[in-house]
Structures are given as C-alpha cells and as structure tokens.
Subunit: 346 residues, 2 copies
C-alpha cells in the first residue's frame, strides 16, 4: 500500500529531525572530549587515555543510536526504525524497509575518521516512505554544519544557528552551472577505498574500484578510451558526506558500491531535493541508450551527479544523464548482492 | 652564513603572519561570494555568473599573493619573498631559497577545491631561515580554521577568535598516542593523485603513485609482502592541509612527490613543532637501516608521520622511524628533479 504525509506533517518531522541531528552530534562531541581530555581540563587527567579509543568509539556509536531511536519512538511510536547498530547486531543482511514510514539512521558515518579525530564524520537521519527518503538530515558535529532537506521543502546547509544562516543548496544557484562539456574532465570525482582490501585478486572490490578510479583519473582517451581526466579525485572516508558535498555542488560525481541504506538515505533525499541525480553504480547492458533508472535505496550501488543547470542545447537533466553514461563507460561492474533482494529498476 | 632570530623576534613575526593569513583568507572568501552571489544578494544578480569561475579563481590567486607580498615588504623590507604565483610566472624551476630570512607563500593551496567550492583550500605562509621553516601559518577560510607554529613556540589550531579558543596540536596530547604496532595497519594514509595523469605509462608518476597507494591499502602481506592494510586512504586535494591534518594527529602518514616548497613550508613548521617527523618520500638504497634524513624543503619528495608518544619499549621517535621504513618498504621511487638542485640529505 502507499502511505502519504502532508507537507505540514513532513515539515514538522523535518524540524524534529534537524534538532535531533544536532543533539545526537553533541553526544559524538562528548566522545571526542573524553579522548582529548578537553572536558576534564587538558593536562590534568591522564586517566582518560587509559580507556581504549576504539572502546570509546564503539560505545559512543551505540549510545547515539539508542538516543536517536528512543527520541523517535517517543515522538512517532507508529513509525518503524532501522539503525546501523541494531541492524548489524542481527544475523541477516536482508533489506527490511517497507512502504510504511521508516526511520533509517546511521548514528556515526565515517567511523574511521571519528576514531582518528578527522572532522569528516557525521550523524545521518532519514525518514523513508514508499521506498524513498522524504526527510534527510546530516550533521557534521566537529564542523558544526548541517545539510538537510524534505521533499518539496528545498535543500539547505545549516539551520537556525545564529552565526550560520541557512543557505540553499547547491551553492551556486543563479543559475546552477552546467556540467562541463567533456565531463568527467573538469569534474571532481569522489570515491572510497572501502573495507574489502584483497589487492591480489583481480575480481575483488578493491581491484575493480582502483581500476575504475584510474580510468576516471587518466588522460582523456588513454586506457583504451576509458581515460576521463577528472579534475580531482577525492576520498573523504564518509559516503554520507560524499553525498552532502555532491549536493552542495563541490563534488560533481560520486560513485560507490557496498554501502548500506543508512549510509545514503539522508544524503539521497538532500541531493535529489537540491536538484541532483542518483542512479546505480553498475553500467546496465545497454548503458549507452537505456533510460537512466532511479536509485534503489537498498541496492548498495550508487552513482550521484551534482545539481546542474542547462546549457548549449541540453537541459540540466540531460547533462546529468550524459555524465552518468560517461561514468558507466569507464567503471567496472561491482558485485554487492544481498539475500532476498533483487534490484528492481523502476 | 647562518642567520639568527631571537625568540621575541620570531614571536612578533608569528603574530604578524597569523593576522596576515586571516586577512588573505578574507580575500579568498570574497572570491567565493562573487561566485555564489552571496555579497550582492542571492537571486538578484545574474551578472556575477557571467564571469567565468576560472577567471575569478586566477585573479583572486594573484590578488592574494600581491596583498601578502605587499604587507610583508612593508613590514620586513629586508626579507626575501617567494610566492607560487610570482615563481610560476618566471621560466626557471630552480630552488631559490637561500639562508637569509625568506617568506615562502602559497596564496591558495587546493586551487581545484577552491574552483569547485569544496572547503579544503587554504592560504599558506611561512618564514624560512637557514633552509628550514621557522614560522608557519595555514588558514582555511571556508572553515575559519587556523593552524600555526613557530620554532620553540608550540603548534596550535585556531588563534584569538572569540568562539574558537587556541588548542595545542596534536589533539591528543596527554600522552600523545603511540603509533600502531603493525602500522601502516591502523593508520590513516593521506595521498594525492596529482596532475600527471599518464595512466598507460608504467613509469609515470600516476602509475607509480597508484601502485604505492594499492600496496598501502591491500591486506597485510599480500602483494609480495607489500600489503599494508591502512585503516583508511584519504585524498583531500591539498598538500598543505594534508600536512595540517598530520599535525593534528588525524592523519598518521602523508606521502607525496611533486609539490613545491610553498605547498609544504608552513605545514612542515607546524608538524615539526607539534612533534611530527618529515623526511623524503623515496626509499634510500639502505632504507632498512639508514639514518632517517631530515626533510629537504626544496626536495619535492615528502613523507610525514604524525606526532607520537612512546610505548612498548620504543620512544615516540623510534615509532615514527619504524613507520617511515614500513612506508618506504611499500612505495615506488618517484622522479621529481629540478635544475641546479641536488637533494642533499643532512
């Protein structure tokens, strides 16, 4: 069955999620303070360092998810909830989101960055309805930056913070820049190395990813025509923030396989609302001519293109689809199945 | 001849450079505002978009360098000055820094990021004396963050900004964490793809870099023993900020060839003052046993290791040297010569 939420209901949920994201981020910052000794007075407390950093991170991750789940359950008891931590502690890897209102939460995306205190980590909170995220909030606590959207409400950086006024996404909106004529040349390509590190196996995710990165980076028309001469190759270590930076327009292309719905749900909502396109990472057989499919939330394969204006005889959407095909032409096919789930392209 | 500056002279120069970095960063932000229409009222002024983004970036880069050079010349007329823009407009690629006090400035590091409005760009200002940077200031204007140091004065994030109190670098200082026992496993490895994009030539910088990245990333002991299983691989697109994040302790290892003295001078000062180690990227013939050489500022080959405490029978410095050798074991030799310059390892 199809569920509906009115615009005012969505707006209320959005404001709740924005506040929740900031409060959850505060718990992450408290975890940072424990590790730097900030809260207890620098230099006075050697005790804090005796606690293993990884233990603090794991506990903070669980604490944030418990906090977010508890707040949502109190406010919206009829809604379902999927969080990274509760999901991962179960044995199945099935896709569990149905059509009813379901919160999809990553309490801490960019865990390695958080462990090392590199600021590129965040809280990701989304509400999914009928298979698509309709509210998305990403909060980057170490930089005190929010990215957020709800369907029909626009996409925004920052919120009501007195010193950081809301600004619409993408940054350059008047008009939004067209994608470069010979993209991926002129584009920033964002990608991640991931956790599968079998560097000796040509069919491993790592080998296929690095071959694809190298194609995108190499001189135009080198590597049997696959060279893309991307303007820059960036790896932040957070799928969620990669999507946020595609929504701002800073990154032009993000291509990734293997992440999960809680990594991308909020980012997909924000990017789509900003005018971006999200589809599958893997080139379909008829990639040159096929219709560009909508992203499948649980598909674990994602290709995102930034918001773009039209120019030189093509619309913004046509430019985005052109860049999708230019990426598909250059990337390897990744294998990330999951039990009981078949990617249905709509 | 050897020049000397007293601690109070250095401190005065440091305070001048800190203020100068923030003022230079403000010019970069004005360039951002021109492109997003922020200053002229969003939505009212289509005019700003008619100016090519690349023209604005190039002009801003030149404006910032002219401003910084002018301020330095007024304040310290006897000091020499090397800036990226003035250097690049000349024909020679010789190393020009002598022993006398010389300012070494990159008005905009991370130009591609600046063009795309990704916040990882910065101003880099250093004073070099007798071949080594003794004052370093990095200012990241879009995040309003400063990294700074002078020899003997400590390394710091942020300065007198009312909402951002100074904090010492590295973040975790009490005690500073030891490097992981089986590093590069457990480490964040920062690297950049660079501008040489010959992906079909096995001897190109790109091929050698990607082989090295893949070695560092792959499972321990795979790839003929070169697999390093780094915890994360990060590419920000700014050599200067890579060094800043090594100084904070967020990144454990940064390995790079091909950048220039203005990209690294401020970062080297800050990292060394924070307790980090900087040496050459290329493994010496006797890499397993040789003395780890001090970095050569103009050598265009850099390997940086974060500040580290001692642990399990080794000092912090011993741990850093262990990690240097673990990196040397896994990387290819890069070729970045320059006319009239021979890397003399001290």
């Amino acid at each position: 069955m199809t569920y509906t939420l009115s615009k005012s209901e969505l707006e209320e949920i959005y404001n709740f999620a924005l506040d929740l994201g900031r409060r959850a981020g505060q718990i992450l910052i408290e975890g940072v303070d424990k590790r730097t000794g900030e809260a207890s007075g620098r230099g006075d407390n050697v005790e804090v360092e005796k606690v293993n950093a990884v233990d603090i991170v794991t506990q903070t991750d669980l604490d944030v998810e418990a906090f977010v789940k508890d707040e949502i359950t109190k406010k919206y008891p009829s809604h379902s909830f999927i969080g990274e931590e509760t999901y991962s502690s179960g044995s199945s890897k099935e896709y569990l989101i149905k059509d009813d209102p379901t919160w999809c939460v990553d309490p801490l995306d960019g865990t390695v960055n958080y462990t090392h205190l590199f600021p590129m980590f965040c809280v990701s909170i989304a509400l999914v309805l009928n298979g698509m995220p309709v509210v998305g909030v990403i909060y980057q606590p170490m930089l005190d930056t929010t990215y957020s959207a709800y369907t029909g409400g626009g996409a925004w950086q920052d919120d009501s913070h007195p010193l950081k006024p809301r600004r619409p996404l993408p940054y350059i909106t008047n008009p939004t820049s067209p994608l470069p004529p010979n993209a991926p040349s002129g584009c920033i390509f964002a990608c991640e190395w991931g956790k599968d590190r079998r560097g000796d196996t040509p069919t491993s995710a790592l080998s296929k990813k690095v071959t694809s990165f190298l194609n995108l980076a190499s001189e135009l028309n080198s590597r049997d025509g696959k060279g893309g001469m991307a303007h820059g190759i960036r790896s932040l270590g957070s799928a969620t923030l990669d999507l946020a930076y595609v929504a701002t327009g800073a990154f032009d292309i993000w291509w990734e396989g293997g992440c999960w719905e809680w990594d991308v749900a909020a980012g997909i909502c924000i990017l789509r609302e900003a005018g971006g396109l999200v589809t599958t990472a893997n080139p379909p057989a008829d990639w040159e001519t096929c219709r560009v499919p909508e992203v499948v939330l649980g598909g674990r394969l994602y290709l995102a293109i930034r918001p773009a204006g039209g120019g030189k005889g093509e619309s913004g959407r046509e430019g985005q689809e052109r860049v999708v095909r230019e990426v598909w032409k250059r990337v390897e096919t990744l294998e990330y199945g999951r039990p009981g789930f078949e990617v249905k392209m709509k």
